[in-house]
């Protein structure tokens, strides 16, 4: 009986936690309509302790989405989670990001004035408009969660989540992101246009967009987010799922149409994303659907393809093969339990 109670309790806790993520998603959806699956993915990245890159044409709601998410978990309030937004421009300097030493008259010394990077949620808008120098300044912060200036290393906050947006490479006045930096982003998402009905709905209620945005409440604090992130780590991943990840990653290396294949780090990131996504979807285990949904967003931007044809098909082939393999698998849970 006690055991059962425990299980029920645990379940309740579980559902409380997961309901929070659902709440978060719902919250964002009040502003961003018809993009639930994308929102789920973005939240997964947040919970996987990663960063996300949104790429699309101007006006598809990238910044709005980023702002809404940021607002839902952080405010400008000093005591709460901090949200900063930087609009990247070609003349932006690294200093503008990380901060600079300023001479303090009273102390007769140079004092470090922290830049906007020292926050919890950073919205790096139009990141590819900045020069490579500035872009690389982001690198360390995103990868190591720290910033080094001279011989001093400044630790960033426990929660540091970057939402970067960029316009497609082809548009004018853009500097392509270096591979290393792209690799830091857990996912690259393209929002795309909404369906006709939703779009019409948006036009009907366009007045309310700003209103809604301002009305977005912060529904999570730092502690909650950290707790959720810890929960994600507990998600169970079956060995076969892991081998599927490996097969996909290794598959890119065997493909002659791929110039730069996936690294092991990509695999780890993929695994993290899968776990987070499963969590967001209210599951305690990863299934093949997760792989199918996430593979493109997580892996595609890390790979350099030889030609356009491969760009479209190579990864999808690998994923399909793995999905087929997994679907055909006959795993008996009880066998494992007995062993």
């Amino acid at each position: 009986m006690e055991q059962q109670n425990e299980i029920i309790e645990k379940n309740e806790q579980q559902s409380q936690i997961t309901s929070k993520t659902q709440l978060l998603i719902d919250n964002i959806e009040t502003v961003i309509k018809g993009k639930r699956s994308k929102i789920e993915m973005i939240v997964s990245v947040l919970l996987a302790r990663g960063h996300i890159l949104l790429e699309d044409n101007p006006g598809t709601g990238k910044t709005l989405l980023a702002r809404t998410l940021a607002q839902s978990i952080a405010t400008n309030n000093v005591k709460s989670l901090q949200f900063k937004r930087i609009q990247f421009t070609p003349d932006l300097l690294p200093m503008d990001l990380i901060g600079s030493h300023i001479f303090d008259d009273s102390k007769k010394d140079f004092v470090f004035k922290k830049g906007p990077l020292f926050c919890n949620v950073l919205l790096a808008d139009e990141i590819n408009r900045a020069s490579p120098k500035v872009q690389s300044a982001l690198l360390e912060s995103m990868a190591e969660n720290q910033i080094s200036i001279g011989d001093v290393t400044y630790k960033l906050q426990d929660l540091f989540f970057t939402i970067a947006t960029q316009n497609p490479i082809e548009t004018e006045g853009t500097y392509p992101l270096p591979e290393a930096q792209l690799d830091r982003f857990f996912m690259k998402l393209s929002l795309g246009y909404v369906d006709d009905e939703t779009e019409a709905d948006i036009y009907r209620n366009y007045l309310k967009i700003d209103e809604n945005l301002h009305a977005v409440k912060q529904i999570m604090d730092l502690k909650t987010v950290l707790k959720l992130q810890a929960e994600v780590d507990k998600i169970y991943v079956h060995d076969e799922i892991i081998s599927s990840i490996r097969n996909i990653v290794a598959g890119t290396r065997n493909d002659t149409n791929i110039l730069l294949p996936c690294s092991t780090r990509s695999g780890i990131i993929f695994l993290k994303c899968l776990k987070a996504f499963a969590f967001v979807n209210n599951r305690t285990f990863v299934i093949e659907d997760d792989i199918k949904t996430l593979a493109h967003s997580v892996l595609h931007h890390r790979i350099i393809f030889k030609n356009n044809d491969a760009r479209k098909k190579a990864l999808a082939h690998l994923v399909d093969a793995e999905i087929t393999r997994l679907a055909r698998l006959k795993i008996y849970q009880h066998e494992l339990l007995e062993n």
């Binding site: 285990f285 679907a327 849970q333 009880h334 339990l337």
Partner: protein, 875 residues
């Protein structure tokens, strides 16, 4: 490059081990079998296998090295042609050249077959299928042409052949997929191979078990239908299950043994007695044919087309009209007998003998079919009378020592008479040479030596004959007969060795064909004219009906006839008594003692009817009167007295009033007074007519069945019967197998569905969830709702739930949890799973009409798709 080389080597090795060697082994078996039947092959199956092996081996290596087929084969053909010209030009003796040429041709044929096989295996994509198809076709052909039809026999041929064909197809397709050699793959490959072979055997076993009863039934039908039709025995059976005596005979490993068929083939009365009181019947062998031609290659005794002094009277009975006769008095001259002869009357009542078949004792010259009396119509199909010129000396008692004193006296008297024949000098040369000719072979030389030994002390032909007979009847020191009768003498150790030689010198076991064949050659070796006859042995079994003989199937016989100048041909038999034959059933039924002898028979047309006085004005076209036959060119008008006549059409009785003008028919009269009409040899037709009474009293009038009607009845018959008697058994089996497979195939989806349902209902821990999943997926798939490339969850939520309004997505989450995580399934979830399927099926059934569901469930293609999608190896 090195890996390429290594791979090629591995490929060659694999081809050799898994394709060539099994093919060679199979070929070896086939060749061994062929060697037993074809003397041309000359008993060299091992060498022949080597030829084949060389061909397949060389071709396999060459073609695996990616050499081109045409140039290399062209070279091979050139080499073979050169070889043949060299051999044919070697100036050895003509025979040797021919002999080597034959050998070389066998070699080149086998080599080329091997060559093509090797090429096909290593280069052609679908060769294995063609190859297998050819083998199976050959097997079918052999089975169809096989005489004995038995379940085991079919299994013996088909199981290995199908297994082999299957193996070759599987193996060659597996070979094609091997591009690089790896140990793991190799073991998987082996495991798959053995798994599939085991499965196949199991399947065959199950099919065999299930079909066995059907098979045996058909076997029985087949046996009844065409038992011995092509068998080794002396009789063959026609489509209407009547017997015919074969026109050839060869000593075989087994004799078509008489089945338990107690029904006689025919019953005959021979008016041949040793005494005037007709107390001691003297049975005579019934001759069907003489086999005077011997083919020493196949050891077959055959009918010769040209026989000097042919005394065979062999009319086709079915062509003689009732009560009319066929006769050949010239035979009396060609039979070459002039003393101690008599004319014997024989009445044959046919039960199971073919309607055309005419058998009668030596030397027959007359035949007249007659009507079986009404009382016996159920028992006998037809009957005929025959007359034979019989020598007083001829008797079935010639050889067998008799206990009867009268017989002993007779035998002694006969011996004395025959002993007077000392030589055959007076015989015509053609005759003597023809009946004493011997084939040339080692066996005959050996036989001659033996014969000389046996007849060393004998001087006159009769003494020699008796010496030969004694050789076969001799007993050894233990009182055991040295020669034995058996229907299953077996084959000699060396397959193509002479069966007769084996019989005479080694086994001493055989049946009539062996005894008769060897005796024939021994007699001829002594210079005694002899020939081989086949027909029936007459066995006197009855004390009651003297002169009546019953002939059973196992009395079909082959024996020797010896010619004695003046006395003619005499039957001579050396076959050791067959125990089975002596135990033949006692005669059953009573023979029609009174023979319907029509003294007058006339066929013609009715001109007019006198219903009042029951008279018919009859145009007589043909007539027999006391066995004399008359044909009138212009019909003669006579008057028939029908007062006591029975009128018949076919088998139906008619009234007089039912007759009409222009009916043609046959009138018969059994009037004893007609017998007294004396017919002198040179009487004219008109004079004969004046002798018979007018009106003539008629006892029976048979109306001819209308000709056109007859034809109409007849024509469809052969059409429907023909396929039945030749291939009906095989056809039936094939149809049954196809039908069973078809039904099985159509029912397969439903069977699988039921199986999963059963499995899903088992409430065993957690496993049933898997089967519920499987069952649901199978059901959906069978109703054309396929998962395709979607993930199971997507399929469940996006397709199924939307289409059918089910809870499949919810179930799928539970299933996936079960599949991908360790968390235990909650009781409520379990409960959900347990009741899920019922609702699910109901919802789905609501969406599909019953007829539609049934139709879709019959689609095996959909089921295959399911398994290919779910179990095929991923690319």
């Amino acid at each position: 490059m090195t890996t390429d080389k290594k791979n090629t080597l591995v490929k060659i090795l694999l081809h050799l081990i898994f394709l060539c060697i099994p093919t060679i082994v199979a070929t070896a078996f086939a060749l061994k079998g062929l060697n037993e039947y074809y003397t041309v092959l000359n008993n060299g199956w091992f060498a022949q296998t080597c030829f084949f092996f060389a061909g397949i081996f060389i071709a396999c290596i060459l073609f695996n090295l990616r050499l081109r087929f045409l140039p290399i084969t062209a070279i091979l053909v050139v080499i073979l042609i050169i070889g043949q010209t060299i051999i044919s030009n070697i100036s050895l003796s003509e025979f040797n050249t021919f002999f080597y040429l034959v050998r070389f041709r066998i070699f080149s044929t086998l080599f080329v077959i091997g060559w093509i096989c090797g090429w096909g295996f290593s280069r052609l994509k679908n060769f294995a299928i063609i190859f297998a198809a050819i083998i199976v076709l050959i097997a079918i052909f052999i089975t169809v042409s096989e005489s004995e039809f038995s379940f085991e026999g079919i299994l013996k041929i088909f199981l290995p052949v199908i297994l082999f064909a299957f193996y070759i197809i599987y193996m060659s397709s597996a070979m094609r997929n091997i591009t690089a050699f790896s140990r793991a793959r190799f073991f998987t490959f082996l495991r798959n191979l053995f798994g599939i072979l085991a499965l196949f055997l199991l399947l065959m076993f199950i099919v065999g078990l299930m079909m066995k009863s059907t098979f045996t039934d058909i076997e029985k039908i087949w046996d009844k239908k065409s038992e011995q039709k092509e068998s080794d025995g002396l009789l063959e059976r026609g489509s209407d299950s009547t017997y015919k005596v074969k026109e050839k005979m060869r000593p075989n490993p087994t004799f078509g043994k008489a089945k338990d068929n107690p029904e006689p083939i025919f019953v005959a009365y021979i008016n041949n007695f040793l005494d005037d009181e007709q107390e001691i019947p003297n049975p005579l062998y019934f001759v069907s044919d003489y086999l005077t031609n011997f083919d020493s290659f196949t050891e077959t005794f055959e009918k010769d087309s040209i026989i000097p002094y042919n005394d065979l009277f062999h009319p086709s009975l079915s062509e003689i009209d009732l009560y009319f006769s066929a006769a050949d008095t010239a035979i009396m001259n060609t039979a070459l007998l002039n003393t101690l002869t008599k004319i014997v009357d024989i009445d044959v009542y046919n039960i199971n003998l073919s309607r055309e078949e005419f058998v009668a004792p030596l030397t027959s010259f007359f035949c007249q079919p007659f009507v079986v009396e009404d009382d016996y119509k159920a028992q006998f199909k037809s009957a005929y009378r025959a007359k034979s010129v019989v020598s007083d000396l001829n008797s079935a008692y010639f050889v067998y020592p008799s206990r009867d004193q009268m017989l002993q006296i007779y035998q002694q008297m006969r011996y004395d008479l025959l002993a007077s024949v000392e030589n055959f000098d007076d015989l015509p040369e053609i005759f003597y040479n023809y009946y004493t000719s011997l084939p040339n072979s080692d066996f005959i030389e050996r036989l001659k030596t033996l014969t000389n030994e046996i007849t060393a002390n004998a001087e006159t032909p009769v003494e020699k004959i008796i010496a030969i007979r004694n050789h076969f009847f001799a007993v050894d020191e233990f009182g055991e007969p040295s020669f034995k009768y058996t229907e299953n003498p077996g084959i000699p150790g060396i397959p193509s060795a002479s069966k007769l030689e084996h019989f005479l010198f080694e086994s001493h076991k055989g049946y009539c064909a062996h005894f008769a064949g060897v005796t024939l050659f021994m007699l001829r070796a002594c210079g005694i004219p002899a020939r081989l006859a086949i027909g029936f042995v007459a066995v006197d079994r009855s004390d009651k009906n003297k002169g009546w003989y019953w002939f059973y199937e196992d009395q079909a016989h082959a024996w020797v006839q010896i010619y004695f100048p003046k006395f003619g041909w005499i039957d001579f038999d050396t076959t050791i008594g067959n125990d089975d034959m002596e135990e033949s059933p006692q005669p059953d039924g009573t023979p029609p003692m009174q023979i319907n002898k029509a003294n007058f028979a006339g066929s013609g047309k009715i001109i007019s009817l006198d219903t009042l006085n029951k008279l018919i004005d009859f145009a007589l076209e043909k007539m027999t009167l006391n066995d004399n036959e008359y044909v009138f060119e212009t019909p003669k008008q006579i008057i028939l007295d029908m007062t006591s006549a029975k009128i018949l059409r076919d088998t139906a009785n008619l009234k007089f009033s039912e007759l009409s003008n222009d009916d043609s028919g046959l009138s018969l009269s059994f009037d004893e007074n007609l017998k007294d009409i004396q017919i002198t040899p040179n009487i004219t037709q008109n004079e004969v007519l004046s002798l018979i009474p007018n009106p003539i009293p008629v006892d029976e009038f048979r109306v001819d069945v209308d000709k056109t009607e007859h034809e109409n009845n007849k024509t469809p018959e052969p059409a429907s019967q023909k396929p039945q008697n030749t291939n009906s058994g095989i056809l039936k089996i094939c149809l049954i197998i196809i039908a069973v497979l078809l039904i099985l195939m159509l029912a397969m989806p439903y069977i699988i569905f039921k199986y999963y349902k059963y499995k899903a209902k088992l409430k065993s821990e957690n496993v049933n969830i898997f089967y519920v999943y499987k069952l649901s997926m199978f059901l959906l798939n069978q109703l054309y709702c396929e998962r395709k490339n979607l993930t199971p969850l997507q399929f469940a939520t996006d397709i199924t739930d939307k289409k059918y309004n089910t809870e499949f997505g919810k179930f799928m989450i539970i299933y996936l949890q079960f599949k991908y995580s360790y968390t235990e399934i909650q009781p409520d979830e379990k409960e959900f799973v347990n009741r899920f399927y019922g609702h699910f099926e109901k919802e789905i059934n609501e969406n599909h009409k019953k007829f539609e569901r049934i139709k879709r469930f019959l689609n095996i293609k959909q089921t295959l798709k399911f398994y290919i999608n779910n179990y095929g190896t991923a690319k």
